[in-house]
Each structure stands twice: as structure tokens, then as C-alpha cells.
């Protein structure tokens, strides 16, 4: 039987990104030269993320009408649920693994993403800490 993944709970976890990032000064430091506006899809729920000098300048939940973005990272609810487990299973443990298996799509101009790949991977993995805190 397919598992049920609650998009709204996952989106609520993602909305905590500003606090989670503010608690990680080393990640902020590593993003010092990163400025971008990008979209993150948590299942069918889109988020508009603006990062300035490695800090979250704004995080807004969609839907949006005619919102511009440089790149987008759109994952299924299952992908985010499994990526954010305290110890993710093999094949669900990394953004590139999710892309390879087809449960996450990268869209748009990937240059800012690739130039800051570790930062973005670590940023998008931050909600895992909420699950670690729960344990």
C-alpha cells in the first residue's frame, strides 16, 4: 500500500527555514556570496525563496501569479519526507539522489544553483533537524 505523505505538514516544516538557517551561522557564512530568488515545490505547494548574502530575505508560500525565479527545485511530498528523516534511507538521502530517481526536478537557469550547490543542498536539508529534535 502506498504511504501517505502529508504535504501541509511538510510545507509547515519548510516554513521554519528562516529560523533553522539563522541557527546555523556556518551555513550563513558559506553562502556569503549567494544571492538568488528561486522556487521550491513541496509536492504541489510552491514556495518563493529569496536569499541575500546567504540569509533568507523572504520566504513566501504560493500559489503565485507571474512570479519570476532563476531556478526551481520541485520535489514530491515523498521525496521531502524521506530526505528529512533523521537518517534517510539509501537513494533518498541527497538532492542529487532524488533527482536521479526522478522524484525531484531542477528547472530554470541552474548556474546559481550549481555555483552554490553545497549551500543549497544543506539549506534544503535543514528541516531534517526538526525530525532530529523530535526524537
Amino acid at each position: 500500500m502506498p504511504e501517505d505523505f502529508d504535504e501541509s505538514k511538510l510545507a509547515a516544516a519548510f516554513e521554519q527555514l528562516p529560523r533553522l538557517l539563522a541557527d546555523d551561522l556556518n551555513l550563513v557564512r558559506r553562502g556569503a556570496f549567494f544571492d538568488a530568488q528561486f522556487q521550491v515545490g513541496i509536492g504541489a505547494i510552491p514556495f518563493d525563496v529569496v536569499v541575500a548574502a546567504g540569509k533568507i530575505a523572504s520566504l513566501e508560500r504560493g500559489p503565485f501569479v507571474m512570479r519570476s525565479w532563476r531556478f526551481a527545485v520541485r520535489g514530491t511530498a515523498e521525496a521531502w519526507h524521506k530526505l528529512w528523516q533523521p537518517v534517510p534511507d539509501p537513494g533518498w538521502h541527497d538532492l542529487s539522489a532524488l533527482v536521479k530517481r526522478g522524484s525531484t526536478l531542477l528547472e530554470g537557469d541552474l548556474q546559481p544553483l550549481m555555483a552554490n550547490l553545497q549551500y543549497v543542498k544543506d539549506l534544503l536539508a535543514l528541516p531534517r533537524r526538526l525530525n532530529v529534535e523530535k526524537r
Binding site: S96, R101, Q111, K121
Partner: protein, 284 residues
């Protein structure tokens, strides 16, 4: 005054003629006994095996040797490198390994390679089995599906070292210790421009062994394949699919390990590799 703590690893340089050109190749060795030549992954260098090289249980029976491929680590590119694009080929890689073993007069060495090193081990098993006592492929398969576009690895608007490390970081298991995880990534951050990309030419274009591995005769040379469960580049399924076509190949799937077993989690790796080395040592 306290005595300095010296590791048993010794490094030297050897000059090899490869593709008709002279190459100054750096290698390290430790231990004594059966020669065990270790081949590093694409875009990295021989330091990946430094933990194995100070493991008394291995070095008491094996003479471990690891060389930095030309263009990698402390081995320089050949003279005139600035006028060409680096590309590793099956023929060039094979020539390099055979030339290194001959130059050091190694008698039927064991060769253990990881990733591209695991792929070339399969090629050695097809073409040169009689030269080796045993072959070990870590994260090895006859072919793997690409999971990123290699043009991102060498272009002026993306830092090469950072993007190489960021891509391969996901191939490390979440259980691997922070210290060895980041040591593994450091080598990728240090690679020369375009070198990782050039190695992947062999991996993705020139070294496709699909349809060829069935010719491997494990009676001539035993073949061991070990793959980490968190490796999504060369997955356990890729290795198992390959091994199904090779009669007598022994497969081990390593738990809580990714694509760089010897460097990302040396403690976990030795649990799996020690029994293999013991078997090789005690088999006449």
C-alpha cells in the same frame, strides 16, 4: 622532548612512459608481503587509501602501493598539458596500471580500485587476468546511468573544486564520520581544473563494458566486488547486475557506506575488506 610520530607510509616518484610521453608519477607504499595496488576514484588521489595503509592487520601481510594518476595529487600532467584537454581512456588507464606494476617489478599483484578504479578492474579482468593474483572492484559496475551533466565541472562561472565536492558529497553515507567525510571532500576541492571531468570521459563514454564482462574467467583471477548501500552513482543494483554475468564473482553490499568506503568510513570498510584480503592471502 617527545619523539615525532611518524607514519609507516613512504612516498616516492617514478617516471613512467605512457602514450609515448614521460610522466612523473607520485606513489606511496606501506607494509610488506603480497603487493596490493590501490586505484583512487575520479578527480581524487591516493590519499583516499591512507587509513588502509596504516592498518597493521593489512600491512603485516600486504605491501600496499597507491599512485596518484597523472594530473592528480602530486603527479604532474605531462609536458605540453596546457595545449590539450585531459581525457582518460580505457587504453591509457590500462597502460598506466600495467606500466606502474612493471616499473616496480610487482609479481602478480592484487589490484583494488574504486569507482573508475573499480571499472578498470573489470577491464583488467577481461583483458589481463593472468597478470594479477586477484582483483577487487569497489563501487564497480559495467555501466552506470549518468546523474548530472559533466559540463558543470569545468567552466569559469562555477568554482570547479566546490562543485565537484558538492556533487560527490551526496555519495557519502549519512553515517560516515564528519572528519572522514570532509577529508574525502577536500581531495575533490583540490583537484585540477577539468581533471574530474576528464576522468569521467572514461567512466561515461569510453569505458562502457556492457556485453563484455561475461568473458571474465574468475578461475584465472578471482574477482571481488564490494559496493556501499548509499552509493547511488554505482548502486548495489548496478554491481549485482554486473556480477550476475560473471561466473564466480563474489559480491558484498556494504551497509552504512557510500561511494568512497576506504576514505569516508575506514572503520566500517575494514569490516568488509579484511575478510576479502584474508581469503586472497590464504588462497594459493
Amino acid at each position: 622532548m617527545m619523539a615525532a610520530t611518524l607514519e609507516p607510509i613512504v612516498g616516492r616518484y617514478v617516471t613512467l612512459q605512457l602514450g609515448g610521453r614521460s610522466h612523473r608519477v607520485y606513489f606511496e607504499e606501506a607494509g610488506q608481503g603480497i603487493p596490493l595496488v590501490c586505484l583512487h576514484t575520479a578527480g581524487a588521489d591516493g590519499r583516499q587509501f591512507r587509513h588502509l595503509m596504516v592498518d597493521d592487520e593489512v600491512t603485516s601481510h600486504f605491501r600496499i602501493l597507491t599512485f596518484d594518476m597523472p594530473w592528480h595529487g602530486k603527479s604532474l600532467p605531462p609536458q605540453g598539458w596546457e595545449k590539450e584537454e585531459y581525457r582518460l581512456t580505457t587504453a591509457g588507464y590500462t597502460e598506466m596500471i600495467v606500466a606502474f606494476c612493471r616499473a616496480l617489478e610487482l609479481d602478480r599483484p592484487v589490484v583494488m580500485g574504486c569507482s573508475i578504479g573499480g571499472r578498470i578492474v573489470l577491464s583488467l579482468a577481461i583483458e589481463h587476468a593472468s597478470l594479477f593474483r586477484a582483483l577487487i572492484g569497489l563501487e564497480a559496475a559495467d555501466f552506470q546511468s549518468p546523474w548530472y551533466d559533466t559540463t558543470w565541472l569545468n567552466r569559469p562561472d562555477v568554482h570547479g573544486g566546490e562543485v565537484c565536492a558538492a556533487l560527490v558529497s551526496g555519495l557519502i553515507a549519512p553515517q560516515s564520520p564528519e572528519e572522514t567525510r570532509h577529508e574525502t571532500l577536500w581531495m575533490y576541492k583540490q583537484g585540477g581544473p577539468g581533471v574530474f571531468k576528464g576522468d569521467l570521459y572514461f567512466y561515461r563514454v569510453d569505458g562502457d563494458l556492457r556485453g563484455k564482462v561475461g568473458a571474465i574467467d574468475t578461475n584465472t583471477c578471482p574477482l571481488y566486488l564490494l559496493t556501499g548501500e548509499y552509493d547511488f552513482s554505482c548502486s548495489p543494483d548496478d554491481t549485482s547486475r554486473t556480477a550476475e554475468k560473471i561466473k564466480g564473482a563474489e559480491v558484498t553490499i556494504m551497509r552504512e557506506v557510500g561511494h568512497f568506503p576506504m576514505s569516508e568510513n575506514p572503520r566500517q570498510f575494514r569490516r568488509y575488506i579484511l575478510p576479502v584480503l584474508e581469503k586472497i592471502r590464504t588462497t594459493p
